[in-house]
């Protein structure tokens, strides 16, 4: 069976949730083969988790380099693994890093890229990726006609798990990095991890827009999110006004979410915002403007003052649960 390469995301000896999802997607197409870039000895620590997540082969690119090069080691490792494995496809997360790696790799391997796939299938022996176009206005299925398909996959779009593997084959790669084309990462500043569900994977998202009016008022959004067990989002207008941090931005130039429930508070519903959330299964909105475009896509909308309706909604939800 052909191998399908998956770039492993890992921090402090733990593989990322996205990696487990990608290995499962890989299993639909062939034999999952994990590609790990790590400091010397680091790959060993991950092998148990990778085997449990379905990796039948683990390619390792380890180095002692004190210098942290930006993404070129990952590109080199995938190119070396592709030469060794002649894979059927290469899967990457549809993240900023994933898209950059995909770009360099595509040129290096002369291969086509399918970006931000929400589904992957083996269709009559062909690898086909499903993409959401114009924020969900269209759905399209694509295949790659040049080289090995390089597919970046939207997180949490596919949720099954691959069967665990007993003894994965471990192969060391000789993956050379060219320092002349490699920027250096001087320092890393991760955002603090909060208690709420991660935005892009959440089943419930409660978002605030410019109508929320201030950073202080966003606690209203947070309280409703907590009552519903959801993540907090913010429109671009709210982020640009300083009401909430940018990593919570939902929309064309923020995160695209597709939850079971999306609650839009004080959000007008401009196309830019809708492109990031209109595939949500159920959409409800509270806005004082009856002509707000958000009401065109809401399953239930309340025209009213969000400062009175939102706390009342929180109360009503709590009463129902109690």
């Amino acid at each position: 069976m052909s191998e399908v390469l998956v770039l492993v995301d890992h921090v402090d000896g733990v593989i990322g949730k996205g990696t487990t999802e990608l290995l499962a997607a890989a299993a639909r197409l062939g034999s999952p083969a994990a590609v790990v870039v790590a400091q010397t000895g680091g790959a060993e620590a991950l092998s148990g988790q990778l085997a449990a997540a379905g990796a039948a082969t683990i390619y390792t690119a380890e180095s002692d380099s004190g210098t942290s090069y930006l993404l070129t080691p990952e590109v080199a490792a995938l190119a070396a693994a592709a030469a060794a494995a002649s894979p059927r496809a290469i899967l990457l997360p549809a993240t900023f890093d994933g898209r950059e790696i995909a770009g360099r790799l595509a040129v290096r391997l002369n291969a086509g890229v399918l970006a931000d796939a929400v589904d992957i299938e083996d269709a009559d022996g062909e690898v086909v990726a499903t993409q959401s176009v114009f924020g969900g206005e269209y759905t399209a299925k694509y295949r790659v006609s040049t080289g090995i398909p390089i597919i970046s996959v939207r997180g949490s779009a596919m949720t099954e798990s691959a069967p665990a593997v007993d003894q994965p084959r471990i192969v060391a790669l000789d993956a050379q990095v060219d320092p002349a084309v490699s920027p250096t990462v001087v320092s890393q500043h991760p955002d603090p991890i909060g208690d709420r569900p991660e935005l892009k994977a959440a089943t419930v998202v409660v978002s605030g827009g410019r109508g929320v009016g201030s950073a202080e008022n966003f606690t209203l959004v947070e309280q409703l999110a907590d009552e519903l067990g959801g993540a907090v989002g913010a429109s671009r207008a709210a982020v640009d006004s300083g009401y909430y941090p940018h990593q919570f931005q939902v929309g064309q130039t923020g995160t695209t979410v597709s939850p079971q429930l999306y609650v839009a508070l004080g959000i007008s519903g401009a196309i830019q915002h809708r492109a990031g959330m209109q595939t949500a299964k159920t959409i409800v909105a509270i806005n004082k403007d009856p002509d707000a475009p958000i009401f065109e896509i809401a399953d239930f909308g309340v025209v009213g003052d969000l400062f009175s309706v939102t706390p009342a909604l929180e109360e009503a939800v709590r009463a129902r649960k109690g």
């Binding site: 898209r99 360099r104 086509g112 694509y142 006609s145 250096t184 399953d299 239930f300 909308g301 909604l313």
Partner: protein, 259 residues
Amino acid sequence: MDIAVLVKQVPDTYGERRMDMSDWTLDRDASDAVIDEIDAKAVEVALQLTEKHGGEVTVVTMGPARATETLRKALSMGAHKAVHVLDDAIAGSCALQTSAVLAAALRQVGADLVVAGNEATDGRTGSVPAMIAERLGLPAVTSVRSLEVDGSTLTAERVVESGYSEVTSTLPALVSINEKIAEPRYPNFKGIMAAKSKPVTTLSAADLGLDPSTLGLAAASTQIVSGAPRPPKDAGTTVTDDGTGAQQLADFLAGEHLL
């Protein structure tokens, strides 16, 4: 330092955007065409750098004839020169082909720094800047929210989903910017008038040494299998709050088994 900025004319994201369902290419006539917002910011970043360090800004676009409007907009902001790659053979090109064309144009421009937007609002692969960097043998720093140049070193803050990092690179290099980096200046009257006489070089695929048969839809690296518009959604219910709006909404959510 001489800077090349990649700009793209795209369907207006505030308007209706359509796919041509006969060949699944972008229906560029369906809506107004504008400079992609992120690219106006890229021009701004380049202008701020040349104002500080000297040098010239050349804007480069690949697009149909009316893409010259986008070049004029950038020239009105203060860019010095423009290059327009115009060739019918290019229509329907994929990201990989696009990067080959733009890289060829950039080799002719010859800049110390290439600035691009992180992602076009129509194509949205977000991979073209990295593809170009690979073709040109340049280091790339993508998704940048701040950028400084000191001699032949570039320092940037690079934003990813989980936070940001501080990154340095030698020059020449390519960077892609995110939308938070800068607000683009409005062209003033003097700038608009001056733009009319700034040089715009038009190049065909052959001028770039590219074989037209390797470009365009038929030779693209990705091909459509099938596509469909989103099924129309049933109209929802909207109520005006009379004090019971919240309760009605809660009842709705309960009815949908969302509570």
